[in-house]
Amino acid sequence: MDADMKKPSESVTRARDSILIVAISFLIALFVGALILLLQGENPIEVYRYLLVDPLVSKNGLLKVLGKATPLIFTGLAGTFAFRCNVFNIGLEGQLYAGALTAAVLGYTLQGLPPWLHLSICFAGAMITGAACAFIPAVLKVKFGVHEVITTIMLNYIISNIISMLVINYFRNPGETARTPYVLDSARLTQFKLPEQANWGLVIGVLLCIVAYWVFSRTVFGSHVDAAGKNLLAARYSGINADRLVIITMMLSGAVAALGGLERVLGAFGYMEVNFSPGFGYDGLVICIIARMNPLGVLIVALLMGLMSYGGMNLNIMTTVPLEWVRILTGLIFAFVVIGNTLLKQRGGILFHKKSLQAEDAV
């Protein structure tokens, strides 16, 4: 117990406690959900089996869960970059669309390239467009003090409508569906098993999370971002170029969100359809907050979201429980996790030691 008071093991305690709080919140939510189900006359055990277990053990189920989770990993991580620096990038959705269109257009127009080059160009193009979309609100914030929440939300509408307009008028594949032509094989992120959506984009997403974790925990840049995120003014006085940091983190955030769009286009679908995203960008915000802006946490929460998302459909097909119920349960889980997190924050990040609160404040 005493060891917990010491510096190195404290971070371990914190990590343990944040995982614990999410787990406890999850269990409470499941319990409350079970009560509701019982009142509705359903069997909670059967429902939870189809929602949480069956997707993982049924044929191809795991691949579907992974396929669902992949874009969420990217958007969740994208949110993390900005939120760490205390910049609220609500514009992930627009940046995702921008990346998706760039990848789609580069993917079908550039012919005769070897896959490695073609893919690299698509990646670079998507990341640049995503970063450029995030650059606008970042500069507006830094230079003119315009709050990024307003500008990013507005940009979401502007960007997604411009993208739809471009697809319909310039890049449309002849046919009923408003979508671009299929990208060439040299630009495809190969799917693990057809026709499942899960593809090599997943591996890239996981690697990115690991890299991001390393950046935030082990590099000077990461500590500067955290410092600026905790107290911008103090960071400035300590000699950190905070304005530059805000712009860089925003652009990184936009670039990663754009990769989420790229993954859908080059990996899961092979083309870009107008309005393909059911709100990946907004889900990403939720994920990164639940994961408490920890890149590895993002990975776990995104997978959980993917599981719930596919599990919900599974439940819908296998039982008579309506789809709405899954959304209620998802809402429950988020509500409880946020409550738990707030509780934890009030205690300085440590669940069981009241005394460490003061120690934490001093640091």
Binding site: N60, P195, I317, L323, W325
Partner: protein, 355 residues
Amino acid sequence: MKKNVFLALLMVAILLFAYACAPATVESTTPDDTQSAEAVSEEPADAAADEIAAADVKVGLVLTGTLGDQSVNDQAYAGLMYCEENYGVQVKAVECTDASMYAEAAQKFCEEGYNLVVFNAFSQEEALRTVAPAYPDVAFMILDTVVDDIANVACFTYATQEVSFLAGVLAARKSTTGVIGFIGGMEIPTIQKYQKGFEEGVAYVNAEGTVIAKYVGNDGNAWNDPATAKSLTLDEIANGADVCFHAAGGSGLGLIEACNEKGVYSIGVNIDQSHLAPDTVLTSALTRGDVAIQIFVKSYLDGAVLTGHTTLNCANDGVGLVESSFFTDDDKAIIADITAKIISGEIKVTNVMDY
């Protein structure tokens, strides 16, 4: 602090509980399903008994959205329910909230041993193309688009020019000014097909009659912009139109509203839209996805499952007008007569997009 947290938790729990109670009423539809399934099993389906045991046949329907849209999804669900009640097959419809669910839902149906998988809209074509080749033993169908290059897929399109012709005939008969309005969503072949058929129908009755045709827009919003459709319609009415027909999806609500305000007739499309304005909706030009599902399921039960392209037309009841209280006996007779002539080929309606 502990007390506050507890109170907060309690409040959240109460709120959620209150929220959760609301869909309990929606829930009540599900016991009905099981009841009707039981009811069916008591009186075995007669027609299909000789070919394939209908009770073993499972039909999955992948919807493009959620039920209650009073449009294609409800229509397809009605078709599915018809099959359950009349053929005795097992059915399941899955609501999809985003495009990536189409393929997943279809795959899940296939993995669960469903025999037939139904897609109800053209927007699901890509999902169909992904899934169907991977499950050659499952029979697929899709509505409103042509997919005739996969062996285990049946596709259905509507002869909308035929029903538009009938609508044109009726509009010309009801019009006193001889001016008739048309609003399309977007100026694309699918909609021009309605317009052409409609114009020909008007001309068939009244060679002097004119059709004022206007389009809502040229982007995705064109199908969901009732305000623009309404102002276009008011403009047409100001120019003398006293019957207006639309092929504009959600925008068409604006036309029906404008006609209702000005007290002139409107003609709905796709589904029976008379509930929107019972006093002024003359009829609706139906495109019956439910009939397509019935045809498809029936063909499977008869042992020769449909594949390739089928047109839903007057002959197979896949398109048609809704008979309303505005129809006089003369109207009914003439519509029936013209329908028969279209079926026999005596009247040829132009199809601007001959497949």
